[in-house]
């Protein structure tokens, strides 16, 4: 798979604040890439640079093989963009907005537009200013999917929407996922988890992690070890680097294994703790994985600072 989005060493400063700090990002063609991270991590800034809304302070980004700073009408005709903050022309009716946008896109598909209108139950004759937030997001998404873009970029599309609206939007997205590469930013990890094929975790202006969802969820496990007697190895001894957030109780040891392999992990546990009564390894939701990563990053920063 080739990268429809490639960002290299992206840096963005707003005055003295360094929002992006050498970001490297690749979004493979055909993927649904979830860009996750806490508020202020730089997700929106990244997306705005990719869409040529902002210019990077340094570094380089390519979207559909074109330098992001040179994104022109030809490239934009193949990109859909939906953002929670986007200002739509509120005086237009839904019908007029779609009719107005149609000539801008040579690949506009009337049948697809009609299907999206039905699917999202869009009120064609109502002005955008009279629509709810969720309905506006649906309009924005419909107007961005009707021309079957090669790439769809979405910035926090689910923010503030009720569950039903989210479900509708996700359904609409999934139907396009086979023909459209999707980059979607969100701090709502539960939503991303349900349909993203790839995941990237952005924190403090850097991509801390980027990999396929299946690989990520497969290698992260919350491990609980029950021992009969206190462990042979003192707990202040350095633990394997891929074990995070270790916690101990008199007969219980708990940690997050970041490179889980049933045989190897079991062997490592037995090597460290001797005979153990029970080992359980539970899959982790995305939210728990990122909380672990974020806390570990904070701890690492704290110890480095010390």
């Amino acid at each position: 798979m080739s990268g429809l989005i490639c960002a290299t060493d992206l840096v963005k400063r707003f005055r003295s604040v360094r929002v992006l700090d050498g970001l490297n990002l690749t979004v493979a063609e055909g993927s649904v890439f979830g860009l996750a991270g806490p508020n202020g991590a730089g997700k929106t800034t990244t997306i705005k640079i990719l869409m040529n809304i902002l210019r990077p302070t340094s570094g380089h980004a390519e979207v559909l093989g074109v330098d992001s700073r040179a994104l022109g009408p030809e490239t934009l005709a193949n990109i859909g963009y939906v953002s929670e903050n986007q200002e739509l022309p509120e005086w237009m009716t839904v019908e007029y907005l779609l009719a107005y946008l149609k000539p801008f896109y040579p690949t506009w598909d009337n049948a697809r537009a009609a299907q999206l209108i039905r699917q999202f139950d869009l009120p064609l004759h109502r002005q955008l200013r009279h629509l709810s937030r969720g309905m506006r997001m649906k309009v924005a998404l419909a107007s961005s999917l009707a021309y079957r873009p090669r790439l769809l970029i979405m910035d926090e599309p689910f923010s503030g929407l009720d569950p039903l609206m989210r479900e509708d939007l996700i359904d609409g997205l999934l139907e396009s996922a086979d023909e459209t590469t999707i980059l979607i930013s969100s701090h709502d990890l539960a939503e991303i988890e349900s349909f993203a094929s790839h995941i990237g975790y952005l924190d403090r202006g850097r991509l801390q992690l980027s990999e396929e969802m299946t690989s990520l969820t497969a290698r992260f496990r919350e491990v609980e070890v029950i021992v009969d007697s206190p462990p042979l190895v003192p707990l202040d001894r350095p633990w394997p680097a891929h074990w995070l957030r270790p916690e101990t109780a008199p007969a219980l040891i708990r940690f997050v294994e970041t490179h889980f392999d049933a045989e190897r992990t079991t062997a490592e546990i037995r090597q460290l703790f001797g005979d153990v009564r029970n080992i359980s390894a539970s899959p982790m939701p995305l939210r728990a994985i990122f909380v672990t990563l974020a806390r570990n990053a904070l701890k690492t920063d704290g110890s480095q600072a010390a």
């Binding site: 869409m51 809304i53 934009l76 990109i79 986007q86 022309p89 007029y96």
Partner: protein, 494 residues
Amino acid sequence: MRQMWHIFKKDFRYLRYEATLVWLFASAFAAMHLRGPHDLSNAAWLPEVFLFMGVAALIGRVVPAEAIPGDRQFWITRPYRWKSLLGAKVLFLIVFVNLPIFLAQICIVVIDGFSLGSIVAGLLWSQFLSFAFLLPLVAFATLSTAKPFQLILFGIAAAVWGLAVSGTAAGPLSGVAWVSQSIALLALFVTAISILLLQYKSRRTALCRFLAASGIVLTASLFVAMPWPVALAVQSHLSKQTALGSAIQIGLSHNFDERFWQPQLKPKVVLHLPISVQGIPDGTEVQPDALALSLQSSDGRQVELGAVNCSNLKRGSGSAGAATISAQCLLDPSFYHAQNGRPVTLRGSLYFTLFGNARSQTIPLSNEPSNAPDGLQCYTDTVRAEWDVYCRSAFRWPARLVYARLGRTDANSFTQFVSYSPFPASLNIDPIETRWASAYASGPPPTVRDVTIIVEEPLAHLRRDFHVDHVQLDQFANPTVYVTPYAPLKSAIQ
């Protein structure tokens, strides 16, 4: 082209009521002129003001429809071509601002009886001037979407418009005011073009704001502070017959034709200087444009009196080949009192225009306008003042001296200044400029019912330097009038 048209149609749909309103204001503006030439209440200013406000509001809405500043507008992530977007906005401006004004002006001049052929140059130039004035509004509207900014912007625009239009009023050096106005408007136009190209192509708002601020400062500087000798030099350079005044000599006369004074805000000594002009070619007359003086005392102290200090120039009586120009110059009292009774050396430069090639036409003195030379239409108002003659012209008053004469009496000038601008129109929505003069100068009231309109064209714009030794200032400062602001007028005879 197709996308430009598409965006234009969208803008029309969005602003159809406002656009229609501008057309209505333009129609009302034209309709006000249907009331005939004798209604001098000139209530046409009302639709003119509404028209200006409507245009300003329209620009303030059509540009932010695809706002440039900001990062949330829907259109910036859509495949807009910047040339199409800019073209659509310009097309909107032309169709809903320039076109209604254009048609209103055509209606007015045609209704007033001017032939289309004679006013086509003025009509087109007027459109260009309007466009050149409105383009900066469009450019500045791209710099912010904040309402207070828009209000300030249109306040500035109204002020600039007022200043530009007031250029047609009499004032010092007003004959050459077109030079600074044209250069200032050009600077503003270039700034606007640069901003529009940068904004629509690259959306560089911060840079463009700096550019706009610089452009405004430059424009204001050129408009207000352009050295008047430069303007006069430009005018002189455009003269056709500079050799015509080769025999003209300037000196200081002691024959006081007329003494006049006007209140000043600061205490000043007023010098009344009769400037004699000799060697005026036959068939021409001198019209003073500016006078600059330098006074040097015997102890080497020197004061300069520029054209602003000597702004009050009047052409006095003259004989064949000679004329006297009465100049009023304001002198610093300290210099005057220090040199009072002592001779000083006076050096001066007189800028003047030679008018000639007089042509005349006698027309009936009636309420109905009759064609006169140089595209003028003249009439009177027998009910109001039967000896007053009104002349009107399309798009600008011609660069001519115009007189009206009744029977064998002296000719009276249409008193306002003459602009020497070579352009066929001035910046004004109203295409008709009307001036008046009394055709009856002195003597018993004539019985004739015809008026002769005489026009003279400018032949040469000249400058002559002169030098007079041993000038006694007290001879020219009598009586001297001090006027202080807010204090009772005091006259002091020195």
